[in-house]
């Protein structure tokens, strides 16, 4: 990574952000407030949300929902993925279906969850779980498949114990892929979180957005969208940072 100065790193985005705000202010002042509120109106609405504590409550609710569903997804998908990695018959039997679930739009299941589980916290957790679990599972499985058979054969020829086989061969090869899955799962889980907050019992940032939309409070909608963009960017950067930390291990397989 080449070092660049603070100046060249931060100046261009700062200029475009300011330019964007000016453009937004101009466009907003030329149209009705219900269509596009101005930048300053949106910012003062955002400040109002912060000052009233509304925003902190919403963020806390959303974060709790996301973390619960996502933690469950990781807790289920990683052990299951490793099991499938080791038991070849199970993997062959299930991988086509896992691939199918991985590429299927999980949002389609929300109405079933609503009609079976109703409102409350649990069905929303199920939605976040379903959105993210297959990304982690699928990538973990792919990682396990990337382990070269020769390596396992050599390990076995040297009478490596099952434990050593896992510690020295399987896990180091699989971990980078699992982390890619975790990063993808974060992105999908966030979509699931917002969708659950829209369509199941309204809560958190999702509620903030829909309630303001019903009131034609465009400033409120835009303020909430800015917050969720920052929320998403922070979580995704976290996922990417962890992924990159172990990405070098993946190089071993090539």
């Amino acid at each position: 990574m080449k070092r660049t100065s603070l100046w060249s790193d931060w100046l261009p985005p700062a200029i475009t952000l300011i330019a964007g705000a000016v453009l937004w202010q101009y466009a907003g002042s030329r149209t009705s407030a219900a269509f596009l509120s101005t930048f300053t109106a949106t910012m003062s609405r955002l400040w109002g949300m912060v000052a009233s504590g509304e925003l902190v409550d919403a963020l806390a609710q959303s974060l709790l929902l996301f973390v619960t569903g996502f933690a469950l997804a990781v807790a289920v998908a990683v052990p299951l993925g490793l099991l499938l990695a080791r038991v070849t018959v199970l993997r062959i039997a299930t991988e086509s279906y896992i691939m199918m679930f991985n590429s299927m739009p999980m949002a389609a299941l929300i109405p079933f969850i609503l009609s079976i589980m109703g409102f409350g916290f649990a069905p929303k957790v199920v939605v976040v779980f379903l959105f993210s679990v297959f990304a982690v599972l699928y990538n973990t499985m792919e990682g396990a498949r990337s382990v070269k058979p020769e390596l396992l054969e050599v390990a076995r020829s040297y009478r490596s114990s099952e434990w050593r086989l896992w510690r020295d061969v399987m896990l180091p090869f699989t971990l980078p892929f699992t982390l890619t899955g975790i990063r993808q799962g974060i992105g999908r889980g966030l979509v699931g979180m917002v969708a659950a907050e829209f369509f199941l019992s309204a809560s958190g940032i999702g509620k903030l957005i829909t309630v303001n939309e019903r009131d034609f409070d465009t400033a409120g909608v835009l303020a909430a969208i800015i917050v969720i963009t920052i929320f998403g960017t922070v979580l995704m950067s976290l996922g990417r940072a962890v992924e990159n930390r172990f990405a070098a291990w993946r190089g071993l397989s090539r």
């Binding site: 261009p12 985005p13 200029i15 475009t16 952000l17 964007g20 269509f35 018959v89 062959i92 039997a93 299930t94 991988e95 086509s96 279906y97 691939m99 199918m100 679930f101 590429s103 299927m104 739009p105 999980m106 949002a107 389609a108 299941l109 929300i110 109405p111 079933f112 609503l114 009609s115 079976i116 498949r145 890619t180 993808q184 992105g187 966030l190 979509v191 917002v194 969708a195 829209f198 369509f199 940032i205 999702g206 957005i209 829909t210 939309e213 034609f216 465009t218 909608v221 835009l222 909430a224 969208i225 969720i228 963009t229 920052i230 998403g232 960017t233 979580l235 995704m236 950067s237 090539r254």
Partner: protein
């Protein structure tokens, strides 16, 4: 990456698509269906979808004009939206990948909006476009655009500099350099982006239909599950899963057929 290493990896990937070990795969599917049938039969209310009920519902659902119209409406909107997103995304991605100023100007917006859960803008889009199909189309384009632009920019950045140097030595014009060299070289990245974009576009379309109550597969599922016709609704879910799987398979096929020299993961 040497060819000797790359080849087995590609071949091994090939049997992930149904083909080899078909017997085990079918047996696996039957076991999953049986477990589902039994567990739901014992523990869940009777209206919850079960494999036998779903299979029985397939003929009547597939022959109902209402379902066919819904499927056409959703899938056609997704296809149109993807075309729009690919065209704009390719141009923006190329500009970001090849021109430093453009990259620096837009990176903060494109990266931020890519990380944001796209369904969050849906209410804003209904304020702008009304509760209509236009809002669904805007959601699809918005959901698909950023993955394509980002991947295209990565691809345009990764063009081997020797290609460009040779082109410049022969005095190629910028149009030739962009569309004759950069675009083909970045194609694997575009495909990887398109795969992610297609999945997001499907989700965007379905969620928009829930929100707007717009006719389509998403609303078909919502309507039927509300009136406790879960088996019928699940046939629509199966169609969506097939569509998602079809896109995945088409991308893998195109990658192997036309771009065997490159394999890379998408940026999500």
């Amino acid at each position: 990456m040497s060819d000797a290493v790359a080849l087995p990896a590609i071949r091994r990937r090939a049997w992930a698509i149904p083909g080899g070990n078909l017997g085990i795969k079918i047996a696996g599917g039957l076991v999953i269906a049986a477990v589902w049938q039994i567990l739901v039969g014992i523990f869940a209310p009777p209206y919850v979808a079960k494999p036998i009920g779903i299979v029985m519902a397939i003929p009547s659902v597939l022959s109902s004009p209402q379902f066919l119209a819904a499927a056409w409406s959703t899938l056609w909107a997704v296809a149109q939206g993807l075309v729009v997103a690919v065209v704009i995304g390719t141009v923006v991605g190329l500009a970001m990948g090849r021109m430093r100023t453009v990259d620096r100007a837009f990176a903060v917006y494109v990266n931020g909006l890519n990380a944001m859960p796209m369904v969050a803008v849906l209410p804003l889009l209904t304020l702008w476009f009304g509760y209509t199909g236009d809002a669904r189309m805007a959601t699809i384009v918005f959901a698909a655009f950023f993955a394509i632009a980002l991947n295209m920019a990565d691809g345009a950045r990764a063009v081997p500099p020797e290609y460009l140097e040779v082109a410049r030595s022969y005095r190629a014009n910028w149009l030739g350099i962009w569309f004759g060299i950069t675009v083909p070289a970045a194609l694997p990245y575009l495909l990887a982006g398109l795969r992610i974009a297609a999945g997001r576009a499907l989700i965007g379309a379905i969620v928009a239909e829930f929100y707007i109550s717009l006719d389509g597969l998403g609303f078909y599922i919502l309507f039927n599950s509300r009136s406790f016709h879960h088996d019928e609704a699940f046939v629509a879910v199966l169609l969506l899963a097939l569509f998602g799987l079809g896109i995945e398979a088409a991308m893998n096929w195109a990658m192997r057929r036309f771009l065997p020299w490159y394999r890379r993961e998408g940026r999500n």
